[in-house]
């Protein structure tokens, strides 16, 4: 497949600005293969089927557009969670600010350490799930990430790990451009929670590959940083074994450009995959959730719950697909994407897709765009609740189905507090 000339120029320029980190044989091979994939497909163009609603230009650019650092008096998220905290500063691991890379039931290492080893478990995951996720839809930024990621962590859970691993992404340099790669392997019957919090950089490219073995459980909750001008393109690639559970929730508050892709492949019977997101944007905010869930096993359940609250020119995008392969009987697939537009300037673009090749399945999807329910607003006000407070209650109610996807109460409370902060700051 040949690239169009303009695209190949853009790709060549971008590649010329990047240096591939050193590593052992397998790691260099994985990075080299990713580079080849990227060269084959080229960086995204507006006319690509899954880039019609989101301009890739700022993500493609050789130089990251700068982003002012937000100085917030809001407390750091998840600080009341008993966690293993790992800190990145503008995309560079900060050992001094981080907890020891160790924990019961955990093997945890910096990416450069793991990829320097001749033999390492992460070899079976690094770039492997990403490569699988390139078909049938290309994800050039993920290939770029695998090839050029400069830092990251590899985490292997061998038992039920009680302390969440918290990745804290600080943004301090207004011109930082960061590429981080994470590899997670949840072994059979093990359990792990990964939290992510922060803007990370002016421009952030993050890829996380998550391999959940039979009977494993993986929970993921992230809050993308509040810095208004930040840009991010992130990918989650998950592969689920028999009877495993995967649950992911993302809160996005602010950010001029966010593209969150999730590619979930259910390969083992009786597995459960839930992916949810709540995004709230005001003004110069473009948020894109692009999700692809593949059912390739029997009796599995998947849920996609994405809610967006938009105002003042903010744009929300949802591209979500459920693919049920031939033989994936008894699939229970659910997808809902909804936007609450707080004024007439906001916009929601949705592309929900179902593709089903099995005959004994129950799949449903729905996408709605709506405004605040005036009847409900009046009812609340008639009981004495001031208009702005009543509206906030209704906004939180709208988001509730997504937030309900977070199992841990203390983590959900952190997310709620951040949302409430956003709402309160926007009161007249």
């Amino acid at each position: 497949m040949a690239m169009a000339a303009e695209n190949s120029d853009a790709t060549a320029d971008r590649l010329a600005s990047l240096t591939m980190p050193e590593g052992s044989g397998w790691a260099s091979a994985a990075r080299g293969a990713a580079l080849e994939r990227l060269q084959m497909m080229g960086l995204p163009r507006r006319r690509d089927e899954y880039w019609r609603f989101t301009r890739p230009d700022d993500l493609n650019a050789t130089q990251a557009p700068s982003a002012a650092v937000l100085h917030s008096d809001e407390g750091s998220l998840f600080s009341d969670v008993d966690r293993l905290n790992i800190v990145f500063r503008d995309g560079v691991f900060d050992a001094a600010a981080s907890d020891d890379l160790s924990g019961e039931g955990l093997e945890i290492e910096r990416l450069e350490t793991a990829t320097a080893r001749d033999i390492h478990w992460s070899k079976d995951v690094y770039g492997v799930l990403e490569a699988r996720g390139q078909v049938p839809v290309q994800r050039p930024f993920a290939a770029l990430n695998t090839a050029f990621a400069t830092d990251g962590i590899v985490i292997r859970a061998t038992a039920r790990v009680s302390k969440p691993v918290n990745l804290t992404y600080l943004h301090e340099d207004p011109d930082s451009d960061s590429i981080l790669h994470f590899v997670v392997r949840v072994e059979a019957g093990a359990e792990l929670t990964v939290l992510e919090n922060g803007p990370a950089a002016a421009r952030f490219n993050k890829c996380m590959e998550i391999d959940v073995a039979d009977g494993g459980t993986f929970h993921h909750v992230r809050a993308q940083g509040r810095d208004h001008e930040r840009r991010a393109v992130t990918h989650l690639f998950a592969r689920l074994g028999i009877g495993s559970t995967f649950k992911s929730f993302t809160l996005t508050v602010n950010g001029v450009l966010t593209r969150n892709e999730a590619v979930i492949e259910i390969t083992g019977d009786n597995a459960v995959a839930h992916i949810a997101g709540a995004a709230v944007g005001d003004g110069n905010f473009h948020h894109d959730d692009t999700v692809f869930v593949t059912h390739d096993a029997v009796n599995c359940e998947s849920r996609q719950v994405f809610k967006k609250v938009l105002r003042n020119g903010a744009v929300g995008v949802f591209q979500g697909k459920i693919l049920v392969k031939n033989g994936a009987q008894k699939t229970d697939g659910y997808q809902i994407s909804q936007a609450l537009l707080l004024d007439e300037d906001a916009q929601f673009l949705a592309k929900p897709e179902l593709e089903i090749y099995a005959d004994d399945v129950a799949c449903s999807h729905g996408s709605t765009t709506g405004a605040i329910d005036e009847e409900a607003l009046f009812y609340l006000r008639s009981r004495g609740v001031p208009t702005d407070e009543a509206q906030d209650l209704l906004v939180l109610a709208f988001l509730a189905e997504a937030i309900d996807e977070i199992d841990s109460e203390v983590i959900a409370d952190n997310i709620l507090a951040r949302l409430e902060g956003w709402l309160v700051r926007r009161r007249g």
Binding site: F378, R383, T387
Partner: protein
């Protein structure tokens, strides 16, 4: 307490006049009932008093203890002590009944310059009031009115009234959809709130409710105005003969 003078109201969106000169005076401590044929404007009157959008007051006035209601936002009217038990209570998915009530109660207290109620006191209070209305803990936790039966919704309205302790309570067909036992519960709830400083305006189609909640005055509303007022016997007359006689007599 509630004074309405020559109130004229039309729909904002269309040239349709609904209230055509309503006069009403409900003194403190009194219970007044309004009966009247479907479409006569009873609910419209209650909505206009509570400040719902979509209506335009073209003339007349409505005051609560001297304060001009029509100048106030709905939430200010509530804090001033006005309460409407809706004919059709609204379902609010995602907002828990308890959260809703605590938010409302505290908002009203704040507006009146009072302290917020503590979580413990609130819980005690709501449990006690819910119990007397046979509203179980599950209903308190569920989203406001979502999946409630018709009768449950009406009981929930009375629970809100009992918690918020308004001074002017308007009940719009609170009896419709209630079974005999629920009707008794609701009436008891209302009667327990009767007080020299609290007034009620009870809109109903059925005399039966007025057996439980004894009104001081009964008004008949037709075609956007009060056409006749009298004692409780007026309700009995309506129950027996319908509205035809009264309408004819007034024509």
């Amino acid at each position: 307490m509630l004074n309405i003078k020559d109130l004229h109201v039309k729909l904002e969106e269309e040239d349709k006049v609904i209230l055509k000169g309503v006069d009403l005076d409900v003194p403190a401590g009194a219970v007044h009932a309004i009966m009247g044929p479907n479409g006569s404007g009873k609910s419209t009157l209650s909505y206009v008093l509570s400040g719902r959008d979509g209506y335009e007051v073209t003339s007349g006035s409505a005051t609560l203890d001297g304060a001009d209601l029509l100048e106030l936002d709905p939430e200010e009217r509530a804090s001033a002590g006005l309460f409407l038990a809706f004919q059709y209570p609204v379902e609010i998915p995602g907002v828990g009944n308890m959260t809703f009530l605590r938010t409302a109660l505290n908002a009203q207290r704040k507006a009146r310059g009072e302290d917020e109620i503590s979580a413990g006191d609130f819980l005690k209070l709501i449990r006690e009031k819910a119990k007397s209305l046979k509203i179980d803990a599950d209903m308190l936790k569920r989203p406001v009115n979502v999946g409630f039966s018709g009768g449950e919704k009406k009981r929930n309205e009375i629970l809100q009234m009992a918690m918020l302790e308004p001074k002017m309570c308007i009940l719009d067909e609170t009896d419709s959809g209630l079974d005999v036992d629920a009707m008794r519960l609701v009436s008891e709830g209302v009667n327990a709130l009767r007080d020299a400083g609290r007034s009620f305006l009870v809109i109903t189609h059925y005399q039966r409710l007025l057996d439980h909640i004894k009104p001081d005055v009964v008004h008949i509303m037709a075609n956007g105005r009060m056409i006749k007022s009298g004692g409780p016997e007026l309700a009995l007359e309506v129950e027996k003969n319908g509205y035809a006689d009264i309408l004819e007599e007034m024509a």
